[in-house]
């Protein structure tokens, strides 16, 4: 158990180091950062001065080491556009993205679990067919298109919800639903298939043989075990959720990290892009680590092995 946790922690640290290397090299993919960061008419002397000032003449390894040292202290450099340190700029927008992604996850889980359970308990019936239909379409629908269609319907035509911005519950409903749809579809299928398996287990048969009511058997015996794989999948999907947030935030001008990063990418604001990629990827690693450890705690069989 201790060895497992230690190994898992070591892996996470290695992956975060890898993340830092990728974030660092993002700047070098285009060639000379000086040419990108300086205005187009810069003279050779200006470029040389800029390179020397920013340390772009040093060997890559040294530059990377410097980047890493700064990153550990939370210093990713000054935003070229905002003239401020990039980390606080991103940190200020994290709560908005957190609100959006957590709402989306809760929405996806809240819909997928009952839908999946109903589909499993009514296997082959109309509810099952309907749930699987919803899941198949939900997995294939482009979330940004759904977002636009929702805006057209709920905001423009019926005037029920605001089209953009962050505020109360009304503001978060549409963007969260747009992000949730693909995850909801995936989870519905997962819950259905694990529930079908669980309902065929011996302990469920025993519970039924004891004369327990079907609702009790389903909810107290089968469901808790069917939810265990859900935890892993949700953890693994967190990266996709964040990716979804990036696209959806731009549609609803939701003031989160996604919108900010897209703007930084389009403005070629490298310090912000580096910081954003590093922070978001690190968040995914930490969430996955947490989920893995949670899994050990949830499933005693893993604890032993």
């Amino acid at each position: 158990m201790r060895a497992y946790i230690a190994g898992r922690l070591a892996t996470a640290v290695l992956v975060i180091l890898g993340v830092s290397i990728v974030s660092f090299f993002l700047t070098f993919l285009t060639g000379d950062p000086a040419e990108i960061m300086l205005p187009p008419g810069a003279t050779a002397a200006q470029i040389a001065k800029f390179r020397a000032e920013w340390g772009f003449d040093d060997p890559l390894v040294i530059q990377y080491w410097r980047f890493l040292k700064r990153a550990v202290h939370g210093d990713f450099g000054i935003s070229l556009r905002h003239g401020q340190s990039s980390l606080p700029l991103i940190a200020a927008r994290l709560p908005a993205t957190f609100e959006l992604t957590v709402t989306a996850m809760l929405l996806a889980i809240g819909l997928a679990v009952p839908l999946g359970v109903l589909a499993a308990t009514h296997r082959g019936g109309p509810i099952d067919v309907l749930a699987m239909g919803v899941a198949l379409v939900g997995q294939s629908v482009p979330n940004f298109w759904l977002a636009i269609m929702m805006i057209l319907l709920f905001a423009v035509s019926w005037g029920l919800l605001p089209t953009s911005g962050r505020g109360g519950v009304a503001h978060v409903v549409m963007p969260a639903a747009a992000i949730a749809i693909n995850l909801m579809a995936l989870l519905t299928r997962l819950v259905r298939s694990t529930m079908i398996e669980m309902l065929a287990e011996d302990y469920v048969r025993t519970a039924r043989a004891k004369g327990l009511r079907e609702l009790f058997v389903t909810s107290r015996h089968a469901l808790p075990n069917a939810l265990i794989p859900l935890v892993t999948v949700i953890g693994l999907q967190f990266g996709y959720i964040l990716g979804g947030a990036v696209v959806i935030e731009t549609i609803f001008t939701w003031p989160g990290v996604g919108l900010f990063t897209i703007q930084a990418i389009l403005n070629r604001d490298y310090p912000v892009v580096q910081a954003a990629v590093f922070i978001l990827a690190t968040a995914v690693v930490v969430i996955n680590l947490t989920v893995d450890l949670l899994y050990v705690w949830l499933d005693p069989r893993i604890r032993v092995t």
Binding site: W145, I148, M149, Y240
Partner: protein, 281 residues
């Protein structure tokens, strides 16, 4: 295909949709009614044919520049399919090779490859793709490479798992006892046994990549204009939602139907080729 349809109606439907999209892409010059990039400002924002002021000349209406939505949809299929198929294939080549090496050779090779896969999985892929495309420039080649980067590890993980098991099987042991080379064993005995799930993953990944490509294109980082892409059509239609909803509705439906068709086909193939995978989502 008839065989497939009989075994699984859903897969049959999927094959039909995918077939239609492929035909549309290949025969675009024949099927399109007008040049997809021809502008005609006098015919801007014309509604689809079933609306009172629509006409069959522009069956699905025109956009803000008077371009024919139907013809642009037909041509848009080319880009979506091309990037989806090529990137999924490139990803499969790299991923299968990596998975075979990791699973069959094990040890340090395994550790390195799997840590790379973990690293790749940790990135919000669309963000990585956006950053790389924005830096390197949005063109067909870069998009294919970037999409391949977001998909290889999925093959690698599955193939690794399968080859770990295959390595211990008698026929592989026997080949080794006979003195066969590792490369020969991998190519002749391990590879054929992992191909079925690889085909299934490939199908589903084509669908995922088409979705992702359209998202990038929607954000303005797809294949650059004037080439029509579904994602950009959607983005352009966004500004005319209230007056000309069809500009945004049809490309979205095209993406939805294509991806749905491919997913149906993938699910059907999974049931057909590899019953063991059926339980997984």
């Amino acid at each position: 295909m008839i065989h497939l349809a009989r075994r699984s109606p859903l897969a049959g439907a999927g094959a039909l949709i995918v077939g239609l999209v492929i035909v549309a892409a290949l025969a675009a010059p024949l099927l399109a009614t007008t040049d997809p990039i021809d502008q005609d400002l006098t015919a801007a924002l014309q509604p689809p044919f079933w609306r009172p002021d629509g006409s069959l000349h522009h069956p699905l209406g025109t956009d803000h520049l008077g371009r024919d939505v139907y013809s642009r949809l037909i041509y848009g299929a080319q880009i979506s399919l091309l990037i989806g198929v090529l990137a999924a294939f490139l990803g499969a080549l790299v991923g299968v090779a990596a998975g075979l090496m990791a699973g069959y050779l094990g040890g340090r090779v395994d550790t390195v490859i799997m840590r790379l896969a973990d690293l790749n999985l940790a990135f919000p892929l669309i963000l990585l793709a956006l950053a790389v495309v924005a830096l390197l420039g949005a063109n067909l080649r870069n998009l294919v490479i970037v999409m391949a980067i977001t998909t290889w590890m999925i093959y690698a993980r599955v193939v690794r798992g399968l080859s770990l098991g295959l390595r211990e099987r008698e026929f592989v042991q026997a080949a080794r006892a006979l003195g066969a080379h590792d490369a020969r064993i991998i190519a002749r005995h391990v590879l054929p046994n992992v191909l079925a799930p690889v085909i299934v993953i490939w199908t589903l990944e084509v669908a995922r990549i088409i979705l992702m490509e359209s998202a990038l294109s929607f954000l303005g980082l797809g294949v650059p204009p004037p080439t029509p892409t579904w994602g950009r059509m959607l983005a352009e239609g966004r500004d005319y939602l209230t007056v000309a909803g069809w500009i945004a509705i049809f490309p979205g439906l095209a993406i939805l139907l294509t991806v749905l068709g491919i997913n149906f086909l993938g699910d059907g193939l999974r049931d057909l080729l590899d019953p063991r995978l059926r339980r997984q989502t």
